[in-house]
Amino acid sequence: MKKRNISKNVKDNIITYGIVIVAYIVIQILISAGSLSSLMQGLLVPLCVYVILAVSLNLTVGILGELSLGHAGFMCVGAFTGAFFSRCMENVITIDLIRFILALIIGAVCAGVIGFLIGMPVLRLRGDYLAIVTLAFGEIIKNIVNVLYIGKDSRGFHFSMKDSISLGLETDGDVIINGAQGITGTPKDSNFTIGVILILITLFIVLNLIHSRDGRAIMSIRDNLIAAESIGINITKYKLMAFSISAALAGVAGVLYSHNLNSLMATPKNFGYNMSIMILVFVVLGGIGNIRGSIIAAVVLTLLPELLRGLSNYRMLIYAIVLIVMMLFNWSPKLIELRKRFSVKCLIGRSKEVQ
């Protein structure tokens, strides 16, 4: 009984890792065969970014059970701190990989710390109230980044929130973060392989966390706060832990995102609430608390608009229909029943019975 319980989890996890690895191999073959358009190839890194974001948000929404709409804000923190570091160190650390790994760590830690600081007051709220406040914090982060000016010259770093002239740089000075124009010239250190490795690391962290002592404590809070408290679970600690880890992983996604772009700007499109809601859509459609579902939903919903580009005007219409169909498929009680009846396991079981 015990063994089965553990091995079932292990099997589930291996399938999830397997899906990612197989998808990676297939895409690599397609690339080498030259049957992937350059447009699609350009989409591969953002795809990894979205998958990591969806998995990390699922930790907050599905495992901790709290609705957060500020996930893009944490991604923004990771993107800018990571890119800032890489820009500063471009000529100091010449090995790309080491610089990128350091940028990743810095981005993750910064996003995690911001997540912790925001989480402390905010996680006292629940449900819709929490969603609204996280939404606001996400926007605040984006707007602060938009008025941030940081420059570097021989005297060191200069900081301003007014404009780049008030930095008072020497003539050879370098404006690294230029307000609304963001960071330009970030070294392009990320690629699809690194993205997939980061997905695997994210999965490793999230899945192992869920099936550990801390993960159980987090899920017990989701299922019944009062009962969890009565058996000695430290609610604040575990809520903050889940929220900060989730934010840190969003930071990782941000670093990956920023190192794929030449110029990084905090626009409403990439770090605004639209993005946060899109990530939430991945999580909800993939199944709340279902990590594998988040991955699949993120991939399908990212590729779909591109695949449907040929249909020009009908593109968004079909996208909407697919959204509705996926939602019904995942959540309608009737369809869940049907799915159970026709699931692979059932069919195999039935054919065995016939024999």
Binding site: K2, N5, R213, N224, I226, I231, G232
Partner: protein
Amino acid sequence: MAALLEVKNLGISFGGLRAVDDFEISIKKGQLYGLIGPNGAGKTTVFNLLTGVYKPDEGIITLDGENITGLKTIEINKAGIARTFQNIRLFKDLSVLDNVKVGLHNHYHYSTFEGILRLPKYYKMEKAMNEKAMELLKVFELDGEADFLAANLPYGKQRKLEIARALATEPKLLLLDEPAAGMNPNETMELMDTIRFVRDNFDMTILLIEHDMKLVSGICEELTVLNFGRILAQGQTSKVLNDPQVITAYLGE
């Protein structure tokens, strides 16, 4: 013998309502103690005061010589009081085994880091937790359902699982809030055996709220009767149940 739980002059008001007034109780180690009274008499409020859900306005609660008045719920649990709830509060989307393992949380430690990286300590501790949890489930004849989601258990077994989870925290005192609520006579009989078994085998002291008079007179050694937040009668079960005041206020003639 010194009392395990000693409560003196406990009281709380909600606005103008005096929910519990001058409540006193003294439970010896190993005792099966009953708390009864009409609906709204303040029984669950007493439980909530004992477990730190509410902070008492006045009074002192001592557990095993340690003053636990006004502590937080988690601290009181760590000091040694575990409870079940009137309306079952299980972790519905966790397996039966995991429900008990959450209860073991504060007795088996490994860090988050060790958990994520799956270091040897993780496997060692998880194995120990599984064994301990299965042991507890066996006591309640739930070991066959260890993999089930808690929500899928039948009602009687959910009640049992709640007790198992509370016991997993290794308390000194177990509070049961209407354990027989919604059970049929057979299940109630079975529950009585289980409660006695827990007392004898786990060396447990149990305080329970119950409306089922058969259960109360069957297993409780002493009783306290509450009415309008005040103690109406207190003492040996047979004496209390024959008290004319108790009969008019609660049992009916």
